[in-house]
Symmetry: C2
Subunit: 343 residues, 2 copies
Amino acid sequence: MGGDVGAKVAIAGAAKALVRHPDISYLLYGRKEEIEPLLAGYPKLKENAQVIDCEVAVSMDEKPSQALRRGRNVSSMWRAIEAVRDQDSDVAVSAGNTGALMAMAMFCLKTMPEIDRPAIAGIWPTINGESIVLDIGATIGADAKQLLDFALMGGAMARALFEVKKPSVGLLNVGVEEVKGVEEVKKAGQMLREADIDNMEYAGFVEGSDLGRGTVDVFVVEGFTGNIALKTAEGTALQIAGYLRSAMSRTWMSKLGYLFARNAFRMLRDKLDPRKVNGGVFLGLNGIVIKSHGGTDAEGYASAIEVAYDMVHNSLQAKIQHDLNEYHARNHSPRGPEAAEAV
Amino acid sequence: MGGDVGAKVAIAGAAKALVRHPDISYLLYGRKEEIEPLLAGYPKLKENAQVIDCEVAVSMDEKPSQALRRGRNVSSMWRAIEAVRDQDSDVAVSAGNTGALMAMAMFCLKTMPEIDRPAIAGIWPTINGESIVLDIGATIGADAKQLLDFALMGGAMARALFEVKKPSVGLLNVGVEEVKGVEEVKKAGQMLREADIDNMEYAGFVEGSDLGRGTVDVFVVEGFTGNIALKTAEGTALQIAGYLRSAMSRTWMSKLGYLFARNAFRMLRDKLDPRKVNGGVFLGLNGIVIKSHGGTDAEGYASAIEVAYDMVHNSLQAKIQHDLNEYHARNHSPRGPEAAEAV
């Protein structure tokens, strides 16, 4: 029911993803009288979907606490998450209210025993392909231990998504040395170096400019900065696209040039298409939840479903659990020796 | 002496800026035997410059504390700042080590009485023109009172730079409501609303995507996030330029298109030219210091000098002092009533 458009986009997206992955079966949570007429247009989807009627739909502008009060047990959002908890489904996808989705996912699924705080991991298009960036806004101001958790979970996700054996992981930091306030980032760096995790190549500190270059597979950062970096990049892409558009339409010469290079521009548009990398992955909970962009269309929604599909097929949860176990087996205290000292 | 290339770029940049602003006169701090031969190539600059021989040059990789120990009183960096303190010059410009420059500027000039911590303000190219973003890396993790100071100083800088009477000021925040950790941002927003400053239009919260759009004249953010946002935008611009280059050179059709649209691409390159917006302004000290990008060329260095020129000509320091006085006159306690409550 979520997103700026609602069920229409979700249904069309589910149909698209089904074409590419015919082994998907759907549980569709929402208002039956709204969903069923839409399903009529997609016979194949209808065959592979079960509609579960829910009386409440969380709205996009509801506060998380309010959504939780009003929608617990009864809303489509809650029930989709609950299905993951009860193992009726492998993964939940929603284009709804992010804050509410995170609040409900935490409340319903709970964080994994070793994890203090969940993260949202985004897939970032880079000049090298794609990287994972986390946290892009689940929680604010992570400490060293939480940054370490993000690194472990991001590394596991990279192994699930990119099928690399030993993903490289960097900690986002500012270039200036000796600045107060980056102690937690430095401490996390030290912990990662000392932990020497088999499944991960710790690459040290990276800067904001490394994001576009994709110098590492996984960028770790606390959520406030991660969220602003993500939106800054999106804004910059739009800004440059705007410059390009106005430059190309200024003279008849440039318009002619545009015509000749039409395919090149199509390629570029394709590269910058935000629908291609849609899907924030909630990490650190006892179950997988994927957040689609609220403003996306059917193609974008299908991408989010495909991220969900990949995460399930490549055993994301098992990979995270494995890495956490390995880390904790090597680093006796449940929080790792360095963090224990710091406490 | 600073920057990746050293005196050569600074001298060539000074000569360029002098052509555009013939009323500049320079004090050039550095190794005389290196500077004087360079000056020979610029007779007009030589006429308007005095070389002050300094035995020590701070290197680009020195730690701030080390630079301060080794370079205090004797380095070209220190002495250029000292000239501002002693009113021998109106403003200091350096392409040297940022951390060292900030440490020396703080030590030598001291922060203004009302200001806890300085900020570095950057000029951000937007679809609307230019905006000011601060802090882009002077200090990490500003509290509400410091964010308010940044807003006041950024507003004063906007009046000096853009010659608007009542610049709009926004606080960078994440979209999600009720997230822990953004209390300081919220508190700063409340303080700004209540302060009702004559010279400023407080525009509320803005997001990372607003940066490229230039929705406000001044974006306020703490330094870690500001620095990473800045570098993320730079990286994204390079990434897209790379996509565009490779798309345009793929087929003979696109190459032909490129030829026709050459002027449009030149315009675009011009828009994205980082040299055009070079110059981080140190705010909150008893004197103005401008940091040029270390990797810039003569054109970029000239831009930084021109930012310095504008700041002096448009009385930046007096404008900041005026706004601080006005704010404190209205808000009795030296920290403002809300901050006092919070302490």
